[in-house]
Homo-oligomer: 145 residues x 2
DNA sequence: CCTTGACCTTCCCACGGTTGGAAGCCCCAC
DNA sequence: GTGGGGCTTCCAACCGTGGGAAGGTCAAGG
């Protein structure tokens, strides 16, 4: 099966399949005589595993670990659970931070008359704001292309 | 004041100040005879504004808009409120997605015995998982360096 | 047989935002 | 005058994804 077909079957774009291979996340695919990558249904299975993992927010490093465990028949479920729990804790922490941001912004917005006057408590806060804790990029999901 | 001093006073690293200047977010700083960038207390104020905005999760594009409004004495508070509300909606959406991820993972983890047996419902789900909605990177805040 | 169009290959570039390093000049205290 | 820290610029990296160029290949239809 060609890369395009594997992409459609797995839900991982051809671009990303090549990237995952190139970065060592997945093994190098076999090649046809013409140099085309060739995929089996097992490979598609693996790609779906990767996609589902990304959908759940695992990082590439975590997925690498999960893939190893997936292939290892003697794995221990505790190992997998550990990764999942770490991911949950991470999610909870990020959610907490974003909740705080949203709450602060809501406070500010509720104090803002939102009319055509130049006074604006939001700008006033941004100007003053002690800030100092979270810092860093917003990132995250970016769900709408 | 030198860039280092301005960085300490504003909480924005010297690296980032140069980057913000280079990318046009903030105006080019004046230079001393030796070519050093020179900052006034007003500049520090502006840098703090930028930092506080980033702490609240605004993107550079949004901060650019907010800075313009900040400088514009005839601005209308409605414009600022609009940006803040959009940001809040965005946060709520991301939080929602992350909540769903966490809930799914918690379901899986609670089904997982977490012992030294090889059976693992988490891997089983990743293998099968229909997936298909959110996709995309985890990103987000990244608060602990 | 040859053309056409869909596919594949590799390679480079872009985005967000931030950090790191190297090479070279400058300034201040000792 | 000298050492160590500041400053300057430039270049590269992180993660994950998409876009596109330039060229090779496959299958169908004329």
């Amino acid at each position: 099966m060609n890369i395009g077909e594997a992409a459609r079957a797995s839900g991982v774009s051809a671009k990303m399949i090549r990237y995952y291979e190139q970065s060592g996340l997945i093994p190098k695919a076999g090649r046809s005589a013409a140099g085309y990558r060739d995929y089996s249904t097992t490979d598609v299975h693996m790609l779906r595993f990767v996609r589902r993992s990304r959908d759940l927010g695992f990082s590439m490093a975590e997925i690498e670990e999960l893939l190893q465990l997936w292939r290892d028949r003697s794995r221990q479920s505790a190992d997998v659970k550990r990764i999942a729990l770490a991911r949950i804790a991470d999610l909870r922490r990020r959610i907490q931070e974003m909740e705080e941001m949203a709450a602060t912004l809501e406070d500010l917005a509720s104090c803002c008359s939102g009319d055509n006057r130049p006074d604006c408590p939001i700008l006033a806060d941004l100007e003053q704001g002690e800030a100092g804790k979270p810092r860093r990029s917003r990132g995250a999901i970016d769900s709408a292309p």
